[in-house]
Amino acid sequence: MLAYLTKRLFWSIPMLIAVSIVAFIIIQLPPGDYATAYVAELRHQGDTVDPLMEQEIRVHFGLDKPIYVQYWWWISGIVLHGDFGQSLDYNMPVSNLIWARLGLTLAISITSLLLTWLIAIPIGVYSATRQYSALDYVFTIFGFIGRGFPEFLTALVLMWLAYSWLNMDVGGLMSAGMEQQPWSFAKVIDVASHIWVPLVVLATSGTAGLIRVVRANMLDELNKPYVETAYAQGLSERRVVWGYPVRVALNPFISTIGWALPSLISGDVITAVVLNLPTTGPLLLRALKNQDMYLAGSFILILSVFTIIGTLISDILLALSDPRVRRG
């Protein structure tokens, strides 16, 4: 196990380096650079700009240096000082922008993810063990509708229902007046009355998909001979199902937990925009639209790092749960 872990950790180092290089190249891909964009912005606002100024800015930010020197500055700034560079659009350090929203994003995403697992795994297992029962059909119908219905539409419908039937304003994460106030009991209540909409929206579509996956995996496993062996030992159905096939059926699912991590940060952009949530998704969207290069690039880098860490977590979990991986 220790050797396996060391090996996996070791391999993630070259992966991280490669990913940072690719991320940096992506930042550089759009034509022009920070200086051209900045000067164009000033001109757009009607300022007269000294042609020398563009060159000065370029020198000031080191944009005239070869790309590998720039890469070194960028990456050493991130690694040594946690400095991701400056956001053009917001005119503030990228790290301030990202970390402020990351906590909230993680809170919403992880809660909805746990909610999804909590609902979907038992339902998926039930659907498989009672295949073609009335409830299985009900869950199947729910699954297809939940999967086929776009999230942003669910969000809009929920908002409309809450507004017109319950007289609630559920857009955003808290009421307009609350934002500037310090945290208090009233504020927590206010956030709770808003946060259920994104949670329901995200959990609905996630649950619908996951039920199908768990059900399909379980149906595969339930017909395997080791399940019959377990029954032949006199174990009750509950102990057989949860102790044997569920353990195996969750393995493919565990190996994809890692992918949940990056999608926690980047995913559900449209839903977040529709619901006006101050999460990272809309920020990334805006950065890409406005060619806010360092912000977008840092996002790509952070997402990639999360992907690598997530995959590592997945591998460790899978090794813990499946001896064939651990000792194969």
Partner: protein, 342 residues
Amino acid sequence: MTEDTPLVEITDLGVEFRMREGVVRAVDGVSLHVRKGEVLGIVGESGSGKSISVRSIMQLLPKTAVLSRGSVLFRPPCGGEIDIAKLDRKGKEIRSLRSRHIGMIFQEPMTALSPVHTIGRQVMTPIRLHLGLGKKAARDRARELLQLVQMPRPDQMLDAYPHELSGGMRQRAMIAIALACNPSLLIADEPTTALDVTTEAQILDLLKSLQERLGMAIIFITHNFGVVADIADRIAVMYMGRVVESGPVDDIFEKPQHPYTRALMASVPRLGAERRRRLTTIPGMVPDPFELPKGCSFHTRCSEAVAGTCDRLDAPLIDLAGGRNVRCHLHSQNQTGGPDVG
């Protein structure tokens, strides 16, 4: 219980699969019995209903199967008599019999063991469930069992996972699980079919020596006559959900009475048989289970079928001397002295 009272007595057992295309009678009026400490071999082709018949003894039928008629009497050593056919397949009574009194070995040792639990854990499960032993005592018992089935390095194997074992070792582990609670009946469903020939011989030897030592009864299912010849006391031959012939092993090998038994035996390859002779096969195919032939179900493939009788009338079960039974018109003709056309 006297020596003659059977340990298990299956009478007129019927198991049906009700499917959209119709009803399949996988087991159609099977009667079998096994005495204490006796080894019964059940021989038949795939789809003859042999696996389904013995799974009824443990109520381990597929979900779509219905136990439609008959009784399965089991007499546990603690006394009493239980009709297993009447028990709820998920109920407490049948669960307290499984593994406790009736152990089972399956065909595929590769897939019949849980891939995510250690061998020790899997052997300990029935011990802890039925004998109520603590973790440590159960582990000691598991170690003894692994020694009993001649598992190499039993101490190490307790903590090994199935994928780290060879096929023969997995089947030994399977046997250890089945024998964990000292059952009075062991059901072995083609336990050597998935193994190579040398391993098959080792497992057969092991089962034989375990039977001599522990004295449990064994029902041994196989499609290969050669496998049961050595281990069985009695043999039952099944075809299309029925027992077509049964009797002591030597008698059946010496003088098979049913044309199907003869055909099966002729299709077993033998060392030292005439050179370059093609192996005999049984002509035709197993009939479509949705459209069983009228009359004796074997007449479509039988080389001795009598037109007008075998294709019209159900074959009767005929008692022969020496504890033998055969289900065939040819023998009813012998009995009555002429063709029984009706």
